[in-house]
């Protein structure tokens, strides 16, 4: 099976700082991959490279290749808006637009040129159901999204992301601001979503990595120290630094 995402010899610099060093990783289709590592190790920079969010930073420089379905996403002919439709992102803090619940989910559909109200309504419903939010909001779709709880807002952001039917979903610590029940709901969603999407999740919660992902990569000082099957990495890490990190023995 070809990989959905192939990263080869990726180096990222912000000005003089060398943030990511020789990253090589292949990510399978329809599977959840966790990225773990201490703060500032380059996990977020890495996933932001995958949908070219770093392009907005003037000092950003990179070499190496990032292929999605075999196509280099940094090719000059790549349309960044299209790319971000294909590679959706959910952030650490829920960030709904100050609009109605319905419009939040419909927003992406509209900017990608969809005008048919019936189709939009159907897609909004489908996305909200996939994000396990539909039952809680179906009677108040016109209410402002800002009135939802943190966990609901985050699920709304997931619904907004999947509405445009991306292929890859990047999640940057999606549960770190949520209570355990909302976290469970989102993890359940990740389990269901992985059948249709390729998911990459950054998490500081090791238990979450073991719960949701099949593969895990451990980042340290901008390098991938170790990557492989999650069960193996957490039970029998090969590299001493991985063992020290996951067992909490970092001096």
């Amino acid at each position: 099976m070809p990989y959905r995402l192939e990263v080869e010899n990726l180096n990222v610099y912000f000005g003089e700082s060398h943030i990511l060093k020789d990253i090589n990783i292949n990510i399978n289709n329809n599977m959840v991959t966790s990225l773990i590592g201490p703060s500032g190790c380059g996990k977020s920079t890495f996933i932001r490279t995958l949908n070219r969010m770093n392009d907005t930073i003037p000092t950003f420089k990179k070499d190496g290749t990032v292929l999605i379905d075999g196509k280099d996403i940094y090719d000059p002919d790549v349309d960044v808006v299209d790319l971000r439709k294909k590679v959706g992102m959910v952030f650490q803090k829920p960030n709904p637009f100050p609009k109605s619940i319905f419009d939040n989910v419909a927003y992406g559909l509209r900017i990608h040129g969809l005008n048919d109200k019936d189709i939009i309504a159907k897609k909004v419903e489908k996305s909200l159901k996939e994000a396990a939010l539909w039952d809680e909001v179906k009677d108040k779709l016109e209410m402002s999204a800002m009135g939802l709880s943190g966990g609901q807002q985050q699920r709304l952001c997931i619904a907004r992301t999947i509405a445009v039917e991306p292929e890859v979903i990047l999640m940057d610590e999606p549960c770190s601001a949520l209570d355990p029940i909302s976290t469970t709901k989102i993890e359940d969603q990740i389990h269901k979503l992985k059948n249709d999407y390729t998911i990459i999740i950054v998490t500081h919660n090791m238990q979450q990595a073991t719960r949701v992902s099949k593969y895990t990569a451990f980042f340290l000082h901008g390098e991938i120290v170790e990557s492989g099957l999650t069960d193996k990495l957490f039970m029998e890490p090969v590299d001493k630094r991985t063992e020290d990190y996951i067992t909490g023995r970092f001096g």
């Binding site: 090791m206 238990q207 073991t210 957490f234 039970m235 029998e236 890490p237 063992e243 996951i246 067992t247 909490g248 023995r249 970092f250 001096g251």
Partner: protein, 260 residues
């Protein structure tokens, strides 16, 4: 004298201050000092239950060879203590898992502590069985051959119980290998004892009534040896993450460990 006392108190105060500073510094540079302390406690408790089982076993064997009713009571009381210790270790292990969410070697270590203490608990139970049975054998004229088989078994098992504890505590795969060899010897001696006991039974029909109990002693010893070997297997798993039953690969594993 007063002056000396004053100096001593000041010294103590200073020492306490220094150790506090050292501990604070450790807490900062080594974030899981408390967790490490819990793991050490667990290890100490497994050492305690191991030592207690070993002493119960030695006493049981002694009661079998030179019957002493007080010794039998002692073994039974120790067995009760061993049960309590094992329950405590199990709770302690669960509490560390719940509060610290250990992974990798830490998790394997905790799981192993729980399993090893379970094996020592069974050994204590079997020692108590031997002590109870000794009652039926006191003042009996046990034929020399089966008696020799069983005392020989008893010696090897004695070594195995202490080797199993030491293999776990010192993560010593060489001792695990010795345990495997010892267990083979015990199994052979068990077969031999069965043969010798049945021969004696045929020779002297009256002896059947008490030689039956000797059969049980042989069986209990063989079970204790198995438990010791199981502790060895658990130790392999704890160190290498290899499933138990990899005796054929022990040399290779020991080689790997030396390299690390």
């Amino acid at each position: 004298m007063d002056n000396q006392n004053k100096i001593k108190t000041e010294e103590n105060l200073l020492l306490r201050k220094v150790s506090k500073v050292v501990e604070d510094k450790m807490e900062r540079t080594y974030p899981r000092v408390k967790f490490e302390r819990k793991l050490n406690c667990l290890k100490e408790d497994v050492e305690k239950i191991g030592q207690t089982s070993l002493s119960a076993y030695k006493k049981a064997l002694e009661a079998f060879i030179n019957y002493d009713a007080e010794l039998v009571d002692e073994v039974n009381n120790t067995n009760d203590q061993i049960h309590e210790m094992s329950d405590e270790i199990e709770l302690e292990a669960m509490s560390v898992i719940a509060s610290e969410q250990p992974v990798a070697k830490d998790l394997r270590f905790i799981e192993t502590c729980s399993k090893v203490s379970g094996h020592f608990k069974r050994m204590g139970g079997l020692a108590s069985n031997i002590a109870d049975i000794a009652r039926h054998l006191k003042d009996k004229n046990i034929p020399e051959k089966p008696m020799n088989d069983i005392t020989h078994m008893g010696d090897i098992v004695d070594g195995m119980v202490s080797k199993s504890l030491s293999a776990f505590l010192n993560e010593d795969l060489n001792l695990v290998r010795e345990l495997k060899n010892d267990d083979d010897k015990v199994d052979d001696l068990f077969d031999l004892a069965l043969k010798d006991i049945s021969t004696s039974m045929f020779q002297e029909k009256d002896s059947i009534s008490f030689l039956i109990y000797l059969l049980f002693v042989a069986r209990f010893l063989e079970r204790i040896a198995d438990r010791a070997e199981n502790i060895g297997d658990r130790t392999i798993y704890m160190i290498t993450c290899e499933k138990p039953g990899v005796a054929g690969r022990l040399d290779e594993l020991i080689g790997d460990k030396k390299k690390n």
